[in-house]
Every structure is written in C-alpha cells, then in structure tokens.
Symmetry: C2
C-alpha cells in the first residue's frame, strides 16, 4: 500500500469528466486532501484539465497513475460500467479508492471490488456526498436516538430532466438509466435509515427509446412491517426529497449533496404521532458535498471505519443487491426477492 501516514491525502483522478472537475474545485480548500494527479488516455484533454485546475501531474494512462508512488488514493468518476474494473486495478496497486455511485453495475461486481480492497489492504468506498452533509448526520442522529420512535415508513425520491439521448446515462451498455444513476441515491438513503436490506421489492418503470428506464418506482418490503418507496426519474423537473415516519414522529429532508444559501440544510422534525406533534425545523451546517465527503475519506484512511460517514461496504453491497432486485422486478413485471 502506498500511503504517507500524515499530511494531506494525495488523490489521483481517473479521467477528466465534468464531475471530476466539480470534485477538484470543491476539495481545493481542504487541508486534508489534495488532488495531485489526473490520468486520461486523451493526453491533451488531461493536460488542459490539469492546467486549468492547477493539478501538478498528468498521467497518460490509469495504470501510470497507479504506479505513481506519490498518490495515496484514487477518485473514480468513470462511467458506471467501468467502476468495478478500474477500482479493482487501483486496489491491486495499493491505492485507496473513492468510487462514484453506483459502485458497480451489479452486486457481484460490488463484492469483487470489496474483496480486492480487503486482499490489498486498502479502503474502498462508494461516494454519496449527501452522506457527509451535517444535514444527513443530523437525520441519522435523530433516527438512532429514537426521536421519531420505531421506523415504519421511508420514502425517498430523486429526479431531474435528461433529454439528451447521447448522454452516457442513456446507454444501457454503460449501466445507464434512471435507476442506476439517480435511483442509487434514494435506495442508499432508505438503506441508511432502515439499517438493513429489504427482503423483497416490487418495481415498475417507464422505458425510453435507448433501452434504459426513464422513471422507476419501487416498493421495498422488510421483514418487520417496515415498507419503503423510492422513485427516480430522468423525465421530471429536478427534485429531491425524503420522508421518514416512525410511530412517534416523522422527519422530512431534501438530503442534498450540496448545501448552502440556495439549498438550506433543513431537517424538518415532528415529534409526536398526532396532528399536535411538536414541529422543529433544524438548520444544520452547510458545506460542499464533495469537500465533506473527501475529508471524511481522508479520516477513513487515516483513522479507520469509525471516522467514515458514508456508506460502509455492507451498505454498498445491500444497495447493489437492492438495485439488482429492483431492475429485475421492473423487467420481469413481478416482485423479486432481494439476494443475500
């Protein structure tokens, strides 16, 4: 494992995609992480990216970046279908891995990624910026403390308009589609709150001309009476919201990736089970999601799992199993048991 044990975590980036640019810009203020290199098979593109974003080193291939001893970890913002292969190669090279969501194209790939990380003694995690937001940490704190009682119902949605059929998210061969791209968010939110995977899911989708789902809605069933609903869409106005009801209160939150003046980090809590429930709208701290996530990733690498606010490997595998089952239910038109 290549890793300096102090100083900022030195991150190399695979590819020069738009999301990579947003990541670099967001983490720039950090003293915990520093983006030291970018790799792209398109040398000109990588050079321009590095120049613009003031990144010191450019590699002409991902393997060259993996061989760089001055890099501790890699950020993988590649198309969904490439996450597994390149995360595994990075782990094999002794690099810690922060991989964009969805972690893999399916649960089997996700498992092999964590196997590779374990075998090589590195940390590998799935990136959900909202998980590092104070807003989300407050939701978890309230749920864990029993502020709304026993959890009975969870709903989470994420949708936005995507009309460009040439976008890679419209390509079924690249693990595209609303479920993989947008749906991983609500599925991950539900997994976080439920604390376990559902046993069965039932899903319906609206399909687009390119063969991907444009909207998917699913119901998730748990053994103890809990039910959850998720929705995701490429055909709606941009929206993002989640609702949790316990038997003693409820919580609403937009579970934003990024919070700030335009996207206030609100946790709307009702304590009590009747109309007279006491309402409290908690405003937590605001931060750029990539920044908070990258710093939590630093803490993970330096101090271990208890410092990581994001999805654990168990959670990521459950998320992948749930996404697999939702996709299967939607394709086959019947409820599907979630794999173990």
């Amino acid at each position: 494992m290549t890793s300096s044990s102090s100083g900022p975590l030195r991150i190399g980036i695979l590819g020069a995609a738009r999301i990579a640019r947003l990541f670099v810009e967001a983490v720039r203020p950090s003293t915990k992480v520093v983006v030291t290199a970018v790799a792209s098979r398109d040398g000109d593109r990588a050079a321009a990216f590095a120049r613009e974003l003031d990144i010191g080193r450019v590699h002409s291939s991902y393997d060259a970046l993996f061989a760089d001893p001055d890099i501790d970890a890699v950020y993988v913002p590649l198309p969904n279908n490439l996450h597994a292969e390149w995360s595994i190669r990075a782990a094999a090279a002794g690099k810690h891995v922060l991989c964009e969501k969805p972690l893999a194209a399916n649960a089997a790939q996700a498992r092999s990624m964590f196997d590779a990380a374990r075998k090589n003694g590195v940390y590998l995690v799935e990136a959900y910026p909202y998980r590092a937001q104070p807003q989300t940490l407050k939701v978890r704190e309230l749920v864990t403390a029993g502020a709304i009682g026993r959890i009975q119902l969870i709903q989470a949605s994420f949708g936005f308009p995507l009309t460009d059929v040439a976008n890679i998210r419209m390509d079924p061969t690249l693990a595209g589609g609303a479920l993989m791209d947008a749906g991983s968010y609500p599925v991950s939110f539900v997994r976080m709150v439920a604390g376990t995977a559902p046993v069965r899911v039932s899903a319906l989708s609206c399909w687009g001309a390119t063969g991907v789902d444009l909207t998917t809605m699913a119901t998730l069933e748990y053994p103890d009476g809990l039910l959850a609903q998720i929705s995701c869409s490429f055909t709606t106005a941009r929206h993002r919201h989640a609702f949790i009801s316990g038997d003693a209160g409820s919580i609403s939150t937009p579970y934003f990736n990024d919070t700030g003046a335009a996207f206030p980090p609100l946790v709307d809590v009702r304590r009590g089970s009747g109309w007279d429930a006491e309402r409290e709208v908690i405003e937590t701290g605001s931060t750029a999601g990539f920044l908070a996530e990258a710093e939590s990733f630093h803490d993970l690498v330096r101090f271990g799992w208890e410092k990581w606010t994001g999805a654990t490997p168990d959670e990521s595998i459950d998320i992948a199993l749930t996404l697999d089952a939702i996709a299967a239910s939607s394709r086959r038109g019947v409820p599907v048991e979630v794999g173990r």
Copy 2:
C-alpha cells in the same frame, strides 16, 4: 325527488357517529346548508345527539328519515361496508346523497350507486373535504394551466396511528384497513391530478392481526409514461403530503381536509426544471373542510355539475377500480391490471 328549489339545502344525517358530529359542527355557520334531522336505530343516542347539536328532528330509522318530505339530501357517514346499501336506498327515496369516502366496498357497488342516483334523478357524490379546499383548487388550477408542464410523476401519502384493534377500521368485514380508510385519499388525489385511471398497479402491504392491511404502498402505471406512488398507513405518525412533478416544474402540498392557522393551506410551486427553478409558496384561503364540501354540495344540487368541486362519478368509479386493483395486487403479490 324531494327538493325545495331555494333556501338552504336541508340535510339529514344517517347515524350519530363521531364524524357526523364533526360534520354538523363544521357546517353550522353555513347559510347554504342546514342539518335538519338525524336518524339512528338507537333512539336515545339520536336524541342526545340532536339535543347537543341543536338538530330539530330525530328519526328512529333511516327509512323514516328518507320518508321525511322536509329533507332534501342525506349525508352518509356509516361504516364503509354500509355506504352502498343506504346510499342506494336514499336515492330511491329521492334524496341527494353526500356519501363518505370510500364511496363503496368495491367498484361494482360504486357503479350500482351511481345507477341508482341516475335512475332517481338525484345527485350522489363521494365526500373528500380536501377537494373543496382553496388549496386543492389552486393545485388543480396550476396543473390545468400547465404551470409545471406535462405531468410525469405523482406521489401522495396519508397515514396516522390506529392501535385500537376494536376500531371498525380494523375490521375486514366492514371494508376496513389502511387502503380503504386512508388510502382512498392519496388514490383520489392521484386520480384528480392524472385526470384518468391507471392501467396497472403494483402493491405491497403489511398485514395486521385482524386481517386488514396496516400499511399499503402502491405504484400506479399510466399508458403515457406517467407513474404515481401512493402510501397509506395505520402504523405511522400522522402525516399527509403530496408531490407532483411535471417536466417544467413541481408542486408540493399537504392537501389538508381542514386548513387554518395550525394547518396552513400552502401550495409550494417550483417553476422550471432545474435547481434554479423559481419557487413560490402560495398561501390560499383557509376553511373547514366539511363546510366547504357541504356548500359545494349545495351548489351541485342547485346549479349542477359545473359547480361541484369534488370527485365526479367518473372519478369515484376510477378511484374504486384503482382501490380494487391495489387490494388485489397486494393480496396476490403480482401487478394487476385496473378494471374498466
């Protein structure tokens, strides 16, 4: 048909249930409707009810009330399984009928109720107080005007705690259960916004010891790519919310039955499809739901369908067909086509 053609609409009430009391108290300020009689087979109970609520006339049977020439219309707040029989008898006696939701135990009953009304030349409608709220009328106005573009996704939820297993809503033989009792609200909301019935539904439920569903979640599929989700529950904290996304904006609303200081009639509109959508939180007028509903019912009887803000017979039949399909899907564990 017994009907004075001017002056307040004279309403007789079947039974002295708790909801009947709330109705009488709510409509008291109206100059359009007046509760003139109550009928109950329990004479003492009816007499006490009439005395307390200052109702002039008590009938010892529903049939005696139907024979009263000074009554124009009846309000039917009986247990769900009795709605069809007594609404049909009221119609046969020439009384207009305002029947509590859910209109019937199934769509076949709903159809026979409207047949009876048509045959006897009376109006018969299903009571959803939220439909008469200025808040709801604003939502309909915005949707109809295209304020959020083409409708792509609808979500509606209603839940509250019900732990008393002796409550009639826990009795499957009385058409109880969360779907019939609470779920008729979100299903009716989705029908109102969609403007048509779904073609297929997929539902999962959590079942209680008495044999009714305690929580039901369903996905509703439409032929043109629209998908909708509903949830209803007896096991959660009290909650009520709906969300509509078009391709050019979105609307959130609690679609309250009653609005006022504690339950502000808010319609939260976002115009635009991106994060930069322009947000407007519209606060409409407040009113007691039963009052607004009863006055709209008066307008219906006096002036015809264009004055009725509530569910039309076509809507009520679609709602009943959808509830039938959701119940069947949940019981059988497969998606179910919605009947026509």
